[in-house]
Every structure is written in structure tokens, then in C-alpha cells.
């Protein structure tokens, strides 16, 4: 990643691994609605690559 970040002009030191990041609740109606929308969007889509 360092090579890529340097090339892109991004400071690698800005990213730190933190094992204690609080896990947020993904089961809210808002998140579920967004993920449902995305799921519908991809229903008939062939994933590229």
C-alpha cells in the first residue's frame, strides 16, 4: 500500500490500525433500507471483473 499511497500523494501515516474501534449497529431501519436498496440494485447485475 505504501507504494500506492506515495504515488497517489497520500500520507500513509494518517492511517492507524485500532483493534478497539466501536462496532456500530448495522441493524437499524436506515441501514437496512440502504442495504436493501443496494441489494435490489444488484439483483440482475453480473458482477464485473
Amino acid at each position: 500500500m505504501k507504494k500506492e499511497l506515495n504515488f497517489l500523494g497520500i500520507d500513509e501515516s494518517k492511517v492507524k490500525i485500532n483493534p478497539n474501534i466501536p462496532k456500530i449497529n448495522l441493524e437499524t431501519p436506515e441501514i437496512k433500507s440502504h442495504l436493501s436498496k443496494v441489494s435490489n440494485l444488484l439483483k440482475n447485475v453480473k458482477i464485473p471483473f
Binding site: 499511497l5 504515488f7 492511517v15 449497529n25
Partner: protein, 152 residues
């Protein structure tokens, strides 16, 4: 010249990323989460929003901190961290609103000339087909994968 981004904290699995948007009036905690698709193997959805006081994610929040470019650069930065840890996965992202999806396009366009050396980016068209990203086309969403140096 370095692109300004916020200090980002990333979970060891590369799925959770958190940073503070610094504004004149207030600071806002932002989070990017990569959520696995329930049906398509190796595909993750990028979702992004404000962390609320009760640790929910508000994907429709508008903080008006006048730092949108820095926020989007930070969100893009999380993709690099995600792929560093999950190099064989794919990411799909779309805005929580059409305006945000257009904003992502603008951001990707600016980064694209350099980013394409390391990543494959495709746009999802209205007819559900996909094509390599073109900065002049409107898309419903974007697929991205890390470009592998050697492919058979």
C-alpha cells in the same frame, strides 16, 4: 503534494474505519463500513455516514462542515486500507442519495488517472450492465477491485 485527509483509525479486518470531520462549529465522527453482500461472494458494500451518540450510523446526515473534499478523500483512503487487508475482495458503492452518487463520480474522476494503475473501476449503468469507469457517464453505482500485477 499530499492530498489532505483526516487521521483514520482502521479495524484489523479492514471493515471499519473512523475519523473526525473537523468543522468551525463542531467536529463530527464519520465512519466507513464494508458490509459483506448476503448473496454475492467476495462482494462488500461501502456504507458511510455520521456516528450518532448511540453508535448508530446516519447515512443521510449532512454536517455542513465545509470539508467535503477532505471527507471524500478520506473515504477513498479507506478503500486502499480495505484492499490492503482484503486484496481479493470486491467493493460496490453507491450514494445514499443520487446527489451523493454524483459526488462520488466527481471524486473518482479526479483520482482516476492515477488510481487506475492499481484498481479496476466499473460503473453500473441504468440497464444493469457495467462498463469500465468513464468520467463523463452517469452511473447508479461503482464496482472496484484491486488490480493484481500478475493474472493468468
Amino acid at each position: 503534494m499530499e492530498k489532505p485527509i483526516y487521521n483514520i483509525e482502521t479495524s484489523p479486518d479492514g471493515l471499519y474505519h473512523i475519523f473526525d470531520s473537523v468543522g468551525v462549529q463542531k467536529n463530527t465522527k464519520k465512519m466507513v463500513v464494508y458490509v459483506p453482500d448476503e448473496n454475492k461472494a467476495d462482494l462488500f458494500h461501502l456504507i458511510f455516514g455520521d456516528v450518532t451518540d448511540d453508535y448508530n450510523l446516519d447515512v443521510f446526515a449532512i454536517s455542513n462542515n465545509q470539508d467535503m473534499k477532505m471527507i471524500l478523500s478520506s473515504v477513498i483512503q479507506t478503500l486502499y486500507a480495505f484492499f490492503e487487508i482484503n486484496p481479493n475482495k470486491k467493493v460496490f458503492f453507491t450514494g445514499s442519495t443520487e446527489a451523493r452518487t454524483r459526488l462520488y463520480r466527481a471524486t473518482i474522476s479526479k483520482l482516476f488517472e492515477k488510481t487506475e494503475l492499481f484498481y479496476n473501476i466499473c460503473g453500473l449503468l441504468d440497464d444493469d450492465s457495467t462498463e469500465p469507469f468513464n468520467k463523463s457517464t452517469n452511473y447508479k453505482g461503482y464496482f472496484i477491485e484491486k488490480r493484481h500485477e500478475k493474472r493468468t
